[in-house]
């Protein structure tokens, strides 16, 4: 799960990491009021879950209240890489001497949280990493013993020469590491970490991603979820305990397991079709889950056929079959449904579906080809009507 910059900065501030003064607003009137209280130049920053906000025009410097008003009118409601901006963060604009990068991320390879720092921070950090990797310094921290002060100091000394700045940065790195563990983060990032003319080190930006698997014990973080910034069908899917990603094709896919769901989509494409979504009903599926899945798929007006591909392991085919019956009775879909149920309790499932008039496919390739064919037929028919 992602949280917004202003929420991440609240967490930073709570842990004692210095951040610029700031306030959030959802209307231009609020922005004007905040800018007036600041009484000095401010930054207007779009709060959306995408990277490269600055480059996309979502972050602007406002010399005075009037400029803040103009920029907020432009930014509030704008489309930033496919996401609508509902909230802006207004912060005091600070004088910047240097921009550094500090990030902590979980690393599969070293099986540790890895701290990365670079004196060349800012919007081009990825380019820095690709072109001049010697400017990125990494430390894999022992997850059991944690981060030592000297290690943080060592990293900080890669950023600054002045010991006063090194101490401040080391302190920030220690606190950032604590935050990482405390909130089940998978990423915490400060880019840029700036120095000001009066010798202060400040987190000008803040980015935090949370491990979804840790959310069950992070109620405060869960409460920060911005439902409005998410695709409604994806929210419904999550609440129904499904993974769903909307795509633009016309074949609705309902599969168990992320790998098989991806492979099914790949094959739809491979055989000349176009998947409408990624949908994983997960393991231990109960019939209700299938109903929710079908409801979400059917809501997409582009969908011309539904492909249900289940290879039962922990998912039992009879559960899914009962779900299909439930869904067809309740939702009365008017488009063709092609089903493949194989694996655990396959025979029971076939008995349950005996009296329905669904289409069946025996193999993965088979069911995919059939779905494409039926979707094309539907499409042609819709064209005739």
């Amino acid at each position: 799960m992602k949280i917004h910059e202003y929420q991440a900065k609240d967490i930073f501030a709570g842990a004692g990491i210095p951040v610029p003064e700031g306030k959030v607003a959802t209307t231009t009137a609020e922005v004007v009021e905040i800018a007036e209280t600041f009484g000095k130049p401010v930054m207007v920053k779009a709060q959306v879950h995408v990277g490269g906000r600055g480059k996309a025009g979502g972050i602007k410097y406002a010399e005075n209240v009037e400029a803040a008003r103009v920029w907020s009118q432009k930014i509030l409601g704008m489309d930033l890489r496919g996401l609508k901006v509902n909230t802006v963060l207004i912060t005091e604009a600070l004088d910047i001497l240097t921009e550094a990068y500090v990030g902590i991320v979980i690393d599969r390879a070293s099986k540790a949280p890895v701290i990365m720092v670079s004196p060349a921070g800012g919007i081009d950090i990825e380019e820095v990493a690709a072109k001049t990797p010697e400017k990125i310094f990494k430390l894999a921290v022992d997850p059991i013993y944690g981060l030592r002060s000297y290690q943080a100091r060592d990293l900080a000394s890669k950023l600054y020469k002045d010991i006063k700045l090194v101490r401040q940065a080391a302190n920030i790195i220690m606190k950032l590491y604590d935050i990482y563990w405390k909130i089940d983060a998978s990423l915490v990032e400060i880019n840029p970490l700036i120095t000001t003319p009066d010798g202060k080190v400040i987190a000008l930006d803040a980015k935090i991603n949370i491990d979804d698997n840790g959310l069950f014990r992070q109620k405060d973080i869960e409460a920060m979820r911005d439902i409005e910034s998410e695709e409604p069908s994806e929210v419904e899917a999550r609440e129904g305990d499904l993974s769903f990603v909307k795509l633009s094709g016309n074949i609705g896919c309902c599969v168990n397991g992320a790998g098989l769901a991806m492979a099914t989509m790949d094959l739809v494409k491979h055989y000349g079709g176009d998947p409408a979504n990624f949908l994983d009903i997960g393991g231990s599926s109960n019939p209700q889950k299938v109903l929710t899945a079908m409801r979400i798929i059917l809501r997409d007006p582009n969908v011309r056929a539904i492909l249900i591909n289940i290879f039962g392991g922990i998912t039992r085919c009879d559960d899914v079959a009962n779900g299909i019956i439930l869904a067809t009775e309740e939702l009365k879909p008017e488009i063709p449904i092609v089903v493949r149920l194989t694996g655990t309790n396959e025979a029971e499932a076939k008995k349950i579906l005996k009296s329905t008039n669904l289409e069946y496919g025996d193999t993965l390739d088979d069911v995919v080809k059939k779905a494409i064919k039926l979707a094309d037929l539907e499409y042609a028919e819709a064209g005739r009507n």
């Binding site: 990068y101 599969r108 099986k111 949280p113 990493a129 698997n213 098989l260 492979a263």
Partner: protein
């Protein structure tokens, strides 16, 4: 022959009284796995499907001499179950549970390693060694005895690959799902190493998916260290971008983790990648044929046909004998 589990595997089921635990305990037993006990705190002394239940893993190990454990407990308690298992002296822990916090796994990974044990998973379908033992949730009826090892990051996609092999008459030694999470106990390279050392395994099918760079690392390993043929499949060619973890994710992996990158890395290492799982047996057969040809050609040059045939027989016998040991 097989890897990780075999006839000697003595299994306990942690979380045996749950819906999944009890169902799969029975399934494993039916397959022929030596399920010696189950563990659920507070349910000690009872039985599930005829399997004795203990309060703690330590007690179960003491009474049953179990060496392997499979975990079906809910995500909030799964990591603790891993610690309990290795502390009780279990040498192989297979964690089926999905949804375990990744940072918890970081610590558990180090701990398991320190204790000299091995963890498979979490968020995995488990292991099956054909006609010997099944630990996890894989449907037992899809496997068939034969020379292929299967390793996969996915669950259900593994079944698909196994089923394709079985339908093509290509049986398996051991099939293992290593899990789809970021932090897993056993990775591709660990498994490939074991398959390379296993005499019964003649070829390996490797199923990867987008994210991370384990497939790329495995490709390097295969090129350098493996003599047995490997064929692959990568899921997620169609996956929408955006699963990236900010800047840090891109920096840390040193690559984008896309399907294209992975397929390219595998191809470069001489590993053919199938467009559909159903193509895997064909690719494997082509690899076997290539090897046969390569083996046949130099021999012809060295000696006449009858001698070459005799030589072949002796080597085959030697292998068999060594295998029996």
């Amino acid at each position: 022959m097989s890897i990780l589990i075999n006839k000697k595997t003595k299994l306990i089921v942690q979380g045996i009284t749950g819906r999944d635990g009890s169902f799969h305990a029975e399934q494993m037993k039916k397959y022929g796995t030596n399920v010696v006990g189950g563990v659920t705190p507070g349910k000690g002394g009872t039985k599930v499907k005829g399997i004795p239940v203990f309060n703690t893993v330590a007690e179960a190990v003491k009474k049953t001499k179990a060496n392997t454990s499979v975990i079906y407990v809910p995500p909030a308690f799964a990591v603790d179950a891993v610690y309990e298992a290795v502390d009780a002296g279990i040498s192989l822990v297979v964690c089926i549970t999905e949804g375990v916090p990744a940072n918890d796994m970081l610590k558990a990974y180090d701990y398991v390693k320190e204790k000299g044990a091995r963890m498979v998973g979490p968020n995995c379908p488990g292991i099956i060694s054909t006609d010997q033992s099944k630990v996890g949730i894989m449907p037992g009826n899809i496997v068939k005895k034969g020379p292929i090892g299967v390793v996969s990051r996915s669950g259900t996609l593994t079944y698909e690959a196994i089923w394709a092999l079985t339908c093509a008459g290509m049986g398996q030694t051991t099939c293992i799902g290593i899990g789809g999470d970021q932090i897993i106990g056993t990775n591709f390279i660990d498994t490939l190493e074991m398959f390379e050392a296993d005499r019964a395994t003649k070829g390996v099918v490797m199923i990867g998916e987008i994210g991370g760079n384990d497939e790329e690392e495995a490709a390097k390993f295969i090129k350098k260290k493996m003599t047995k043929p490997v064929v692959g499949f990568i899921a997620g060619r169609m996956a929408p971008p955006g699963k990236r973890m900010g800047h840090a994710g891109a920096i840390i992996s040193g690559g984008s983790g896309t399907a294209e990158d992975k397929i390219e890395a595998l191809n470069k290492a001489g590993i053919p990648v199938a467009a559909s799982p159903t193509e895997l047996p064909t690719l494997m057969k082509e690899k076997f044929d290539q090897i046969k040809k390569a083996k046949a050609t130099p021999r012809k040059k060295v000696a006449k046909k009858p001698v070459a045939r005799g030589k072949k027989k002796t080597t085959a016998k030697k292998v068999k004998k060594a295998g029996k040991k």
